[in-house]
Symmetry: C2
Subunit: 298 residues, 2 copies
């Protein structure tokens, strides 16, 4: 496996692949990989001639009071895991290479999608996400790009970005991967120590309650929100940020609970902010993700 750290090396390597007519799958990550990333990497491996994973803790998507400095990093471990998943190359640029002096062009999502949920709590977050995703897509030039459903609003932003800027790439969305007790895999789970770890299952339990309310009371999205809120309220270590039912493509709030719908949740467990979601597809099937322990899979 190749470790590529400069833009020039990436461009030359990519041009070689292009000349050979290879299809390329890109898995953008911020590193500190978990089973979710590796699931997407294996999907990319199955669907493309070449698989590139980027490992870049993108500073522009962190707010001034967020966890950029302490965000977990372990490139040697990531390298071993990606090699094991059959990835061909890791692109791990420096922040200076991605944002050189004088950098002054942003990709800026606008509209309702950037006024709600994560966007409302993290000003500038999706500008940073959209900008780095556009840059990575342009640098790597992949046939397909792989994102996780765990970051549902990010998926919606990237879907619009690809359509709006006419980027010639296919978006592939992989399932949320869960611990056996339902906690969604996240690099930030490393922050969950002591009692915080079992308390963090409150998000999954709240979504499960929301799904039950959705199926039981198909006319009221507020009943679904309330079902989610009450589970979080019952967990002493948890503080609700939002519990919403919205359109998966626009994140606009739903009034009646009809498919397609996104049940989206953010909460703090102690000082760790976590997000999670269940997706009800237009065909009426639920996408709640997959469990690492087969006994818990639905």
């Amino acid at each position: 496996m190749r470790l590529i750290t400069t833009l020039e090396d990436l461009r030359q390597t990519r041009d070689g692949w292009s000349r050979q007519g290879r299809t390329i799958g890109l898995l953008p990550t911020m590193g500190y990989l978990h089973a979710g990333h590796l699931s997407h990497a294996r999907t990319a491996r199955a669907e493309n001639d070449i698989v590139v994973a980027s490992v870049f803790v993108n500073p522009t998507q962190f707010g001034p009071n967020e966890d950029l400095a302490r965000y977990p990093r372990d490139l040697p471990r990531d390298t071993a895991l990606l090699a094991d998943a059959g990835v061909d190359a890791i692109f791990a640029p420096t922040a200076d290479a991605m944002y050189p002096a004088g950098f002054a062009t942003w990709v800026e999502p606008a509209g309702p999608l950037t006024e709600r949920l994560e966007a409302a709590r993290r000003p500038g977050h999706f500008r940073g996400v959209a900008t780095v995703v556009a840059k990575l897509l342009l640098l790597v030039g992949p046939t397909r790009a792989y994102f996780g459903q765990k970051d549902a609003q990010q998926v919606a932003v990237v879907r619009r970005l690809i359509a709006d800027l006419n980027l010639p790439v296919e978006l592939r969305v992989g399932p949320t991967i869960r611990e056996p007790d339902g906690l969604a895999m996240s690099s930030r789970n490393v922050y969950l120590t002591g009692d915080a770890r079992p308390a963090a299952t409150a998000l999954y339990r709240a979504l499960t309650a929301g799904r039950a309310a959705f199926d039981a009371a198909p006319s009221s999205a507020d009943a679904v929100r309330e079902a989610m809120r009450s589970v979080i309220a019952a967990e002493p270590l948890a503080t609700l940020d939002y519990a919403d039912v919205c359109d998966p493509a626009t994140c606009a709030p739903l009034i009646t609970s009809e498919a397609p719908a996104l049940l989206a949740l953010a909460a703090r467990i102690g000082s760790t902010r976590l997000i999670d979601n269940f997706l009800l597809r237009a065909d009426g099937s639920w996408d709640i993700g997959q469990f690492t322990d087969a006994r818990h899979a639905e």
Copy 2:
């Protein structure tokens, strides 16, 4: 010559050229072509296997009080002129194809470059320019893209855009083409009727005076600004918008008059707003453009 109006037709045509390994030159225009566009088209013809000109009056770069509705259009004439210049294809999409319902992703220039000159007078203008240029570059996938020095700040914005978003294209900048009396070619010159037409040479005369002041007083950029201002002030039909001396890459104002420098001017002649500039390159040579009448060329 092909006339392409749909994104799908463009993509298929472009993919065919790519498979054949052809180099592609793109000339983005808003149509109503003049000798400036045709000069750039001939340069593109000489430098590429395939030349594509886009003809699209981009609504997102016009402000609410600007001249979008009355901006001159004549596609049959443009088609004949481009065919004569050896262009292979015209891409003339509809506004709905470029900005479909739900469009919500902008390419947004930031920093000093978008706080001065045109950017200060035309809020949102360069967001519209950067967005449509990024889209056209991604749709056409050219080897080289051709812009005119007449729109000096646009050139600076596009140069940053290409670098910042890692677009794999070479920027080529063609000279300003002038009428024999110095008026810079512009599609908006069609608005200049009666006395406005001779009065419009005030911009060229002001830049010429500014250049003389620059060469005579190499320590004061303010003396250059004042020289330009006084020429505009002496023309009864002209109203100065700005007369500035700035860094060509950042548009930051200069204090001392040192190369490289951009002498940039905007003025209204009656109700028609015009811009023009002279560029002093780092090597000390002036780029004041080229004249359609060889007797006036410098």
